[in-house]
């Protein structure tokens, strides 16, 4: 054995790697974990706190469709897909390709490669030396290293389970104005279901996400309802079928607002909905007739 015979990793091969990676879709493999002030358009209006759950839930949704399509048996955490590694579809978070590429992207997005991370860190440090060691209020200078650091997979080393649990804790300190939302749990009941579920409204930012999460949660009940469709096992049920069940003629999603009235979900802007929703109910559409017009009237009378 002689070490000298081994070709050492050269800058060249690292650069090739970088070039190859550059062709991949950065956005798709971007780690989304509660970055404050992130440029992702979907997350306007949510603070860094709820974003983790939201991003994770999107992952959870994909995992669900994977399972439905008889996927490789990946499991997702209901409501939190923190430790999910998607089977490569879209690669939102932690997908094997996305993760691997995402990781190298995160660190190679800077002009330097891994071997210069230390130098990068020290150059970052040097730039922030003039600042006094009291809490930094202004944003750090926009160098690649801090952004890359924020995007690093699996850092800080907190288990996904703990991350998810902490992300949905209500905030105790009210010093920052931005820490306004913690979790907003509302109960969800459904016709014919033996018990309630709870969802955190702040973990969604659109109706679509809410309905996807609900359909996943209540799919086990809707299956028993769908005998008419001739479906016997979960594997045969496609995602679109479930959406039909929930959004088609069979069921509608309604909510009770602060005044105690029952309204159809989806009529008012999302923020207004989360402000006023006290609990949700999945009703048979036959029972929900006449709700829609009232929702719009109420909305108008408020504004």
């Amino acid at each position: 054995m002689s070490v000298t015979e081994v070709p050492f990793p050269s800058m060249e091969s690292s650069e090739n790697f970088t070039k190859r990676s550059a062709g991949l879709n950065l956005k798709a493999t971007e780690l989304r974990l509660g970055l404050p002030g992130s440029e992702s358009p979907e997350r306007e209006g949510t603070n860094g706190f709820s974003a983790p759950l939201k991003g994770l839930l999107s992952g959870a949704k994909r995992g669900f469709s994977d399972a439905i399509d008889g996927g490789s048996g990946n499991w997702v955490l209901s409501g939190n897909g923190g430790s999910e590694m998607g089977s490569g579809k879209d690669g939102v978070l932690f997908s094997p390709r996305g993760g691997a590429a995402g990781n190298s992207l995160a660190l190679s997005a800077a002009p330097n490669c891994n071997n210069q991370l230390t130098n990068m860190a020290s150059s970052v440090v040097k730039e922030s030396v003039p600042q006094s060691p009291k809490p930094l209020n202004e944003k750090k200078p926009q160098i690649s290293a801090p952004a890359a650091k924020a995007q690093v997979v699996g850092w800080p080393p907190i288990r996904s389970f703990r991350k998810n649990s902490m992300a949905s804790q209500p905030q105790k300190d009210d010093a920052d104005a931005e820490a306004k939302s913690g979790c907003l749990y509302v109960k969800v009941s459904m016709e014919g279901a033996p018990y309630l579920r709870k969802v955190d409204l702040n973990s969604f930012s659109t109706y679509r996400e809410l309905s996807s999460a609900l359909e996943k949660m209540f799919s086990c009940f809707t299956i028993s309802q769908c005998g008419a469709y001739g479906v016997s096992s979960r594997e045969n049920l496609s995602e679109s079928r479930l959406m039909d069940l929930l959004h088609g003629s069979e069921y509608v999603l309604t909510y009770e607002d602060k005044d105690g009235d029952w309204m159809l979900v989806g009529d008012v802007p999302w923020e207004m909905f989360t402000d006023s929703c006290k609990r949700l109910r999945i009703m048979k559409s036959s029972e929900a007739i006449g709700l829609a017009p009232r929702a719009m009237e109420k909305c108008k009378s408020r504004t």
Binding site: V153, S165, K172
Partner: protein, 623 residues
């Protein structure tokens, strides 16, 4: 093969053989009382008789890396096992550095166990993949099964738990912790039959959804031996009171949510008295969403508390201080960094017997939260009040070399020192120097140090210190540190007891990897991700050390160039046969991949039995 092992004469005459004063049965009986793993390994080396007596009398086995041995080899050597502990994926899989479907599936083990260990009673798994089918198979194949513990596992749902509840008539322990579990419904609890009363440990704290509280209450009522009950967040204070009233004998309690909008005065006093009646509590956890006005409910239960897990309860320093006044006997404390330095000062004041502290960050990804959380002064204050501290896990955003040096001076008995400065590569925030001297102080002062996790801006000097002083070090975790290969070489050369080395994002390359050629067979595993390794380096390692499994988690179609994630571990089972397509499992030239056993292993068995014993001892001890 088994016959060959037992009957084969060793080349040199065995004097002890002739003069053995004990019949085998007596020897087995006596050696059966040796419980410690290390002792049993030593016992097995004494001579052939002791080796056999040990293997026949052993009832429990611990396998730190499920791929280091095959179920066939295991069951062949140890015919009478009742309790198996298995660990699967590399630890960095907890942080999403290992793709899904990597492996570590329990299924193939269960199939062999069903045949060879029909009397199996206990199974404890960590970081393994467990499907519902496997759980069902387990429930149906082992009529005497008693204890199931799943920690950080994935692949199963509450359906699997239902299968366990339904069919394991003698179950005493069901411990489901921090797993990737698909929670489909709360009805699995109802699957415990009415006649079932043997449960002693029930932990479902991490299931996200509601459980059937009626079923839970009835279960707790009829299991009079229940000692540990850890419920999930969905269980309310009110429900908790009903459970406590039925189980005042509990020693370990994990509550659910610790807030309720409208507790009446009556309800409050009922809960208070329920806690008051739990005289045996030594462990308390849960306490999600804690409302400060309800914390006094806990005070009567705190007197004998030795372990307080508040890591899901973000309290502030004052609330923590008020609680800790009532916990003078605390040995282990886990908190969230919302308690800040003030809270840690309170720990130092009220918990002089403290041995372990873990501080978890409330906002690990929140860049701007500098000024919140804990700092170096909390660390120092804590160390002044708790001289017996020997285990620390500390997440912070700023640290100084001087503070760490002070801490270890106050607490020189550290065995586990895990410091995570959350900003990678961050220096001493006062002097702006690297954090080398901090960890230098740790390894110089704490001679008993077994586990170390480093962070912050670190040069090779840190690793020089580690190699020079950390002679008892067994586990080392490194991230974003070091300047060159020299750092890793120092560690590999200098730490004789090193068993687990996990490295990410460091400038260590092939030279460093290959400098440890002689070490890896005495280690459990090496993990290196996002370092400077290449495929050629890995191939060379695999070629030189054919009994190591060198696995590369690769990008698709990428057989050359950088080896981004490398996992190296010793194994007597040869390269694994279940490697998914994204894992490139290198083979040395002698290993026959198809057999899955590796011809080198069997050549050892056929020639020199004592060699086999030595080799097997090495890894069974240190797995």
């Amino acid at each position: 093969m088994e016959c060959r092992i037992r009957k084969k004469e060793s080349p040199e005459p065995n004097i002890l053989n002739q003069a053995s004063p004990f019949p085998d049965e007596v020897l087995e009986r006596v050696l059966g009382m040796v419980k410690s793993r290390k002792d049993r390994s030593s016992v097995s080396l004494v001579c052939k008789e002791w080796y056999n007596a040990e293997r026949w009398s052993r009832r429990s086995v611990f396998i730190g890396n499920c791929y280091s041995v095959s179920p066939e080899i295991l069951t062949r050597r140890f015919p009478n096992i009742r309790s198996v502990t298995l660990k699967g994926k590399p630890r960095f899989s907890d942080f999403n550095l290992v793709p899904a479907n990597w492996g570590a599936d329990i299924r193939s083990w269960l199939v062999v166990f069903a045949d060879k260990y029909p009397l199996l009673e206990e199974l404890r798994l960590k970081r393994m993949t467990v499907s519902d089918e496997s759980l069902e198979f387990l429930a149906l194949s082992f009529p005497y099964f008693k204890a199931l513990s799943l920690l950080s596992c994935d692949g199963f749902s509450t359906d699997g738990l239902a299968a366990i509840a339904t069919s394991c008539k003698n179950l005493t322990e069901l411990d489901i912790q921090e797993n990737g579990i698909d929670d489909k419904s709360g009805n699995w609890l109802s699957c415990f039959p009415e006649s079932f009363t043997s449960l002693e440990v029930l932990n479902f704290a991490n299931l996200p959804n509601d459980v059937n509280s009626d079923a839970l209450e009835k279960l707790v009522s009829r299991c009079k031996s229940l000692k540990t009950l850890k419920v999930n967040r969905s269980v309310t204070l009110e429900q908790l009171q009903r459970l406590l009233v039925r189980a005042p004998q509990l020693c370990e309690l994990g509550s659910g949510s610790f807030s309720e909008d409208d507790l009446t005065a009556q309800q409050y006093s009922e809960i208070e008295s329920a806690f008051n009646n739990c005289k045996n509590l030594h462990t308390l956890s849960g306490l999600w969403d804690p409302a400060e006005q309800y914390l006094p409910l806990l005070y009567p239960a705190c007197t004998n508390l030795t372990f307080f897990n508040l890591s899901y309860a973000p309290l502030d320093g004052d609330d923590l201080a008020k609680l800790l006044v009532h916990c003078p006997n605390l040995r282990r404390l886990w908190v969230v960094d919302t308690v800040e330095d003030k809270g840690l000062e309170a720990v130092g004041s009220h918990c002089p017997l403290l041995e372990e502290l873990r501080v978890f960050p409330a906002d690990p990804f929140e860049d701007e939260a500098i000024g919140h959380g804990v700092t170096e002064s909390g660390f120092v204050a804590l160390s002044r009040g708790c001289p017996r501290l020997h285990y620390v896990l500390y997440f912070c955003r700023q640290m100084t070399n001087a503070a760490v040096a002070t801490v270890v001076q106050n607490c020189p008995d550290f065995t586990h020192f895990r410091l995570c400065i959350m900003n990678p590569g961050q220096p001493d925030y006062l002097t702006h120097e690297p954090m080398d001297e901090a960890f230098g102080a740790v390894v110089k002062t704490c001679s008993k140090l077994q586990r170390l996790a480093v962070s912050g801006l670190l040069t090779d000097l840190t690793f020089e210190y580690i190699g020079k002083y950390a002679k008892n070090l067994e586990t080392l975790s490194v991230a974003f540190a070091g300047s060159s290969d020299w750092g890793m070489e120092c560690v590999l050369r200098g730490c004789p007891k090193l068993r687990k080395l996990e490295i990410r994002d460091c400038p260590f390359g092939n030279a460093a990897l290959l400098s440890g050629l002689e070490r890896y067979e005495s280690m459990r595993s090496l993990w290196m991700s996002d370092c400077k390794l290449t495929m050629n380096g890995c191939r060379l390692l695999a070629k030189e050390m054919p009994r190591l499994n060198v696995e590369v988690i690769k990008e698709e179609g990428c057989y050359e160039g950088p080896a981004q994630r490398v996992y190296v571990y010793r194994s007597v089972a040869g390269p694994r046969r279940d490697a998914p397509s994204f894992v490139l499992a290198h083979c040395g030239p002698h290993n026959a991949r198809g057999s899955g056993k590796g011809s080198t292993t069997w050549s050892i068995v056929c020639t020199m039995q004592p060699y086999l014993v030595c080799y097997m001892r090495g890894y069974f001890q240190n797995l």
